[in-house]
Symmetry: none
Subunit: 410 residues, 2 copies
């Protein structure tokens, strides 16, 4: 079965946004055995979209549009699909009721433009959108099908991982490609490759590394019928990388670490300076984290470090806030105040200019991460490269990695 993506949006053509949805859908095509030869990207223009859809229907069994389903004049996808496939647009009453309800609940006045989002080509099936107003559409056209998906990431994602993936897998009837992602912390991409050098050339299963911030993902891929080979291959890789493999698939470092802590009855407090809440934010992405994560302290200004955490002012006046001593004192202060088992602290220079504290130059990217536990207090020094965002992300990632090592006794 052949698939083709038609991405809709002038802002994509103009280089204002990256078409991340098309990337995700490309992966889903691969995983569901849909062959994929062409992608088109079209601006917000009715006639051009109609011509792109007609072209796609000459060469693909399934055409998936992304974007242009909103309520505004720019949102032309529904009308263009109806024209390209020669079906009338009808208003779906169930959909309209749902939309009116959402607007009422959000206290937003209903405007007639909103009705557009309740429309569908007459033979189309609606894909529910729990995260937004515009539903997706599955529109049969003889033996072919056009699927329309909304552009916002949080609406698009659940649809392709749910209804759309199932639909494609079933419809393609081809042997699905199976892949498995191993998530690795504490080794860089080249270190991972060096340990797997002979396996990197394997043609089935294949293995491909992807460098992420502070971790590496290894994608292992084969066809459904060779899935036992995949398990063996994974075992060999795990054997070589040992406890650096922290998770599989979508599992995040915070998730597995919190899970290990929960199993051991441990609790966690945080004390953040340069990350300003980024560590807490990441920990609380995990649903149900409240059995482990107590809370913590954002001590951005130096005086607040003393006031909330009892960091001795002598430390701030000598070694400064970006120091091993301060990271230790922050971790100890947070642990004592919340009376739990573990506390993590982060203090550093996230800005792109060096900082001066008491005559000592602290370069951009210098970060100290502290950990206080019932057994010990440690602080590690890191020198990260990158801009403000990257430095902060690396700091959070390394704090989680330090915590995981401690909890697992590595």
């Amino acid at each position: 079965m052949r698939g083709e993506i038609v991405s809709v949006g002038t802002e994509i053509l103009l280089g204002q946004i990256v078409d991340a949805n098309a990337v995700d859908l490309g992966l889903v095509f691969a995983e569901t055995g849909v062959t994929h030869h062409f992608r088109q990207t079209v601006g917000d223009h009715h006639d051009r979209l109609v011509s792109a859809l007609r072209l796609a229907l000459t060469r693909a069994d399934v055409v998936v549009t992304i974007g242009g389903l909103g309520p505004t004049e720019d949102d032309i996808t529904r009308t263009a699909i109806a024209e390209a496939i020669g079906q009338r647009l009808v208003t779906d009453p169930e959909n309209e009721d749902r939309l009116r309800e959402i607007f009422e609940r959000r206290n937003i006045p209903w405007t007639e433009a909103q009705v557009r989002q309740a429309q569908r080509p007459e033979q189309a099936e609606v894909i529910p959108n729990p995260n937004g107003t515009a539903p997706g559409l599955i529109c049969p056209v003889g033996e072919q099908v056009v699927i329309a998906l909304p552009g916002p990431r949080n609406e698009f994602g659940p649809m392709i991982r749910g209804r759309v993936r199932d639909f494609l897998a079933q419809r393609s009837g081809e042997e699905p490609i199976v892949s498995r992602v191993l998530r690795i912390v504490g080794l860089g991409e080249s270190q991972v490759e060096a340990k797997l050098l002979d396996l990197m050339h394997s043609s089935d299963p294949t293995v491909a590394p992807y460098a992420k911030i502070g971790e590496v993902h290894l994608r292992l891929t084969t066809r459904q019928s060779h899935v036992e080979g995949l398990a063996q291959f994974e075992a060999e890789i795990r054997d070589r990388l040992g406890s650096h493999v922290y998770g599989v698939g979508d599992e995040s470092l915070e998730e597995v670490t919190i899970d290990e802590m929960a199993q051991r009855g441990l609790t966690l407090a945080v004390a953040e300076s340069c990350t300003g809440g980024g560590l807490g934010e990441r920990l609380t992405r995990v649903a149900g984290v409240s059995t482990v994560f107590q809370g913590g302290f954002l001590t951005y200004q130096d005086s607040v470090k003393t006031k909330l955490l009892g960091v001795p002012s002598e430390i701030l006046a000598t070694e400064g806030a970006v120091s091993e001593a301060c990271a230790r004192a922050m971790a100890v202060g947070a642990r004592e105040r919340l009376a739990g088992t573990h506390a993590l602290s982060i203090t550093g220079v996230a800005g792109e200019e060096p900082m001066h504290e008491n005559g000592i130059e602290k370069p951009s990217g210098l970060v100290f991460i502290g950990l206080a536990t019932p057994d010990r207090v440690v602080a590690l020094r890191f020198q990260f490269a990158g801009n403000r965002d990257t430095i902060r992300a690396r700091a959070v990632q390394n704090a989680l990695a330090l915590l995981r090592k401690d909890v697992l006794g590595l």
Copy 2:
């Protein structure tokens, strides 16, 4: 002049890499006045690339290919262009000499496959590649032109910022496009559109809305010589949307709010429950925020709300943590403890299941945002839709919007 990008690479279709080159080239098109209606992405397949090129040549003056210029079998772009434009491929002797030199210098044995990289359609001009082996090509085809650029980022980048940009700017002879983004908070996309209904159809300047989480971006676009018209158009829009327009271009809501606070000598503390640090994280994305942002409290567990912020346990035992009273007490507690002027608090149900507190059901997405200032204490109730991430992002966004309104006296 019309331009069209043809990106070449199976790895792009399969979702293994993001097509960042096409994003950059889209920006260069816009800046050099090249109109841009379609983009095609094709796998590494000769016949399909030829057909994509032929299609592009039916509707564009300049067709730019990205990728497929390397030495391997997969690198099909040169041959496909030659076929599509009906020119012979010839080996460029100067190019071959240069390649042989590079290989000698790098101590890599010369293979005949490398000669491919020295080939060009007979009428083509070569674009030097200081960072790699495959040069770019400018291939005239009557009044049209096909430009071929290499895929590696460090080879592609210098070419489009140098020779290619100059070529496009000169050839288009058109004026550069100027655009300006207005950032709007406190109105939904359809509300913005309703207020601008007559302007939405304007053909010069054009205006296009983009819905973001808790804000709307309006992109106004015109040609360089009409730039005064753009200013007038912007003034009209600002007049209708009033103080809902909070910023321009890349300015973020946190940035403008912090800036207004700094000018007034105000300070800010935060107290976060369901966002777990997301508000602090966002505030501290702003470099130099430490004059305004003091720090704050992550009070994820209920007992920590009492311990760190003095939230009365009666409130937790009656109305519960997700309540107006709790949001008010959190904001007051944070403000008192850090002794600044302003404090924001967030408490809510970010999880996708409803929560029960003391027999009261709190639905997913119910969030209270509190603000304490020298003059008042308020708490607002919100009911957000979406998943955990979206609910948390909306909570942070609305906390910032509330703060901005207070600071500006709106």
